[in-house]
Amino acid sequence: MREEENYSYKTPSSQLVKIAEIASHYKGRPEMLMKVITKVQKIEPAFSASVASVIAREMDIPQTQVYSFVTFYAMLSVKPRGKYVIRMCKSAPCHVRGAKEIVRALEDLLQIKMGETTEDRRFTLEYCPCLGVCEQSPAIMINEKAYVNLTPESVRDIVKRYIRGEV
């Protein structure tokens, strides 16, 4: 995928309607951009150009401001993402407790590399900085839920529950 396509792909118009509804509550309040973005992210995992333009229009701020904001923060993305984003902590406390083996187990189970999204758009694997559960490392986070004290076996079991739709 070319770089510009990572931003200009299509988002369904039904989604855009919902997003417009969220953003319209904060018209003329640019300081609420984070709140809008966090709410939008719950229903749409990535911020395409069309998502950004709807937010910008409804809040009455420049679209570039939305893009600049989204590309700054690690947990936000303009690129398409899966329904479940699996974040692997990359920081030292997890690193010294076998994070590498967890990564291998995840890549092997989902058959994608870190930074990639499965073809069915269900899972994205990515690294993230410290998750703040260091006394129980190694840890991952799947969307807003943290899983701790992982072993390659336990992480497989956890992700399988998502694959089967048990979560």
């Binding site: 984070m34 030292a92 410290c130 943290a146």
Partner: protein
């Protein structure tokens, strides 16, 4: 060794969502006392108590409040920095999830001191699961008239709003945090003006770490004289230590300032796992110094750790056993800083990347003594010229490890076999 639980006194004992349970353990009594005091009296109490910031820098708390107190203007803000991003730290998560009202109470007391009516808690995105807990705790505190309009019938109004981050280490820096609350990219501002004069939305602002704020209510409940009996002269009070890495027992522990690092690792945390030896300890998170096993007989208080070239920082103790390689750990630290640099100032943006490239070169057996000299030169440049604390401390793990593990650097330069770094090369 017994823990001394002041901040964690309610851990697991009360329902954190209910202010009534906090009140039943003596909560919000300190606020009641503070509401009858003047701003100057509140600041004086904190000065006498000697409370210093627990977020990393150890700056005297009363001074921060004094700046905002002296600043002209009717609108002032209180901000709680809950963007706990330092790798290896999760004390603030424990505090906010066990006893959030203690933090609100601290904020309200500071608000009374400077006559602020609005406070913000900036919570990192990784802790999004705490939002419902905090919201319910806030709501129930309002119902108990401990927050909101006319607190406890005193005529003083103060309320707290929650704001979230979205994943950026640099937002733990105070001015970057303000930018983020204002709906912008979290890039640090040039200083001066300092936050006490012009902070959030350009208004005088007092920003404190979660743990610092949690210390305030106990001080006002028991008095500064009591507080001075705990900890050391220069760092009174207790400190939360997050011990992680290769020790038997990991966790967040509360001890008086001045506890010995060796005792913490061996007596409290049970030492290394069977058959393993201690290789190194990093105090203060990724931006802290890495010391070797012979240096751990050290008193943990803000000044003593600084004197030994490291920093107590937020109280993180990362313990590494002999399965690890220092160069690999430093590479991990630098990769973190390279990724987390916001890119606003050149020394940090370019310097962090260069340091990472140099350490990779050494790890891969392509380094030379000349590279160590370049690293030291670069480290000094970054320390002197970077815009914020992130750039100032990026090089700390490198320079401290060069000092304390020089032979390890030499082994990599001499291309001796390293079981950790060579495995990494195979993977790439």
């Amino acid at each position: 060794m017994e823990e001394r639980q002041i901040l964690l006194r309610n851990r697991g004992k009360i329902n954190p969502r209910k202010a009534s349970e906090y009140i039943a353990t003596g909560g919000y009594e300190a606020l009641k006392r503070a509401l009858s005091m003047t701003g100057a009296e509140i600041i004086e109490e904190l000065r006498l108590a000697g409370l210093r910031g627990r977020g990393g820098a150890g700056f005297p708390t009363f001074r921060k409040i004094q700046f905002a107190y002296d600043a002209p203007g009717d609108v002032k803000y209180i901000v709680c920095n809950a963007d706990e991003g330092e790798p290896g730290t999760n004390k603030d998560r424990i505090l906010l999830s066990c006893d959030p009202c203690a933090v609100f109470e601290g904020m309200a007391i500071v608000a009374k001191a400077v006559n602020a009516h609005v406070g913000f808690i900036y919570l990192r995105a990784e802790y999004a699961y705490l939002v419902p807990v905090l919201e319910q705790a806030l709501e129930s505190s309002r119902e108990e008239h401990c927050l909101g309009n006319n607190i406890m019938g005193s005529g003083f109004d103060f309320d707290i709003k929650l704001r979230s981050g979205a994943g950026a280490y640099v937002c733990g820096e105070e001015t970057a945090l303000f930018e983020s609350i204002e709906g912008k990219r979290g890039e640090p501002r040039f200083r001066p003006p300092f936050p006490g004069i012009s902070g959030l939305f350009g208004k005088p602002t007092v920003l404190n770490n979660v743990e610092t704020l949690a210390n305030i209510a106990p001080i006002f409940r028991n008095g500064w004289e009591w507080y001075r009996t705990i900890g050391t002269d220069n760092s009174p009070g207790t400190k939360l230590f997050t011990v992680c890495g290769n020790v038997k027992r990991r966790g967040v522990f509360e001890f008086p300032m001045g506890i010995n690092l060796k005792d913490l690792i061996y007596e409290v945390c049970g030492g290394m796992e069977e058959g393993r030896e201690l290789l190194a300890v990093q105090t203060g998170g990724a931006s802290g110094a890495i010391i070797n096993a012979s240096q751990i007989d050290m008193t943990l208080d803000i000044d003593q750790v600084s004197n030994s070239g490291g920093r107590l920082g937020c109280g993180t103790i990362l313990v590494m056993d002999d399965r690890n390689c220092i160069i690999d750990i430093v590479r991990n630290n630098l990769e973190f800083f390279k990724d987390e640099s916001c890119g606003k100032c050149t020394p940090c943006r370019e310097g962090g990347t260069r340091l990472y490239q140099l350490i990779c070169k050494i790890a891969e057996g392509r380094g030379s003594i000349r590279d160590i000299e370049t690293i030291e030169d670069l480290a000094e440049t970054m320390r002197l010229t970077a815009l914020c604390g992130l750039g100032h401390s990026t090089a700390v793990p490198v320079t401290s490890s060069i000092q304390n593990f020089y032979s390890c650097y030499l082994r990599h330069i001499d291309r001796e076999y390293c079981h950790v770094c060579s495995e990494e090369d195979d993977a790439v």
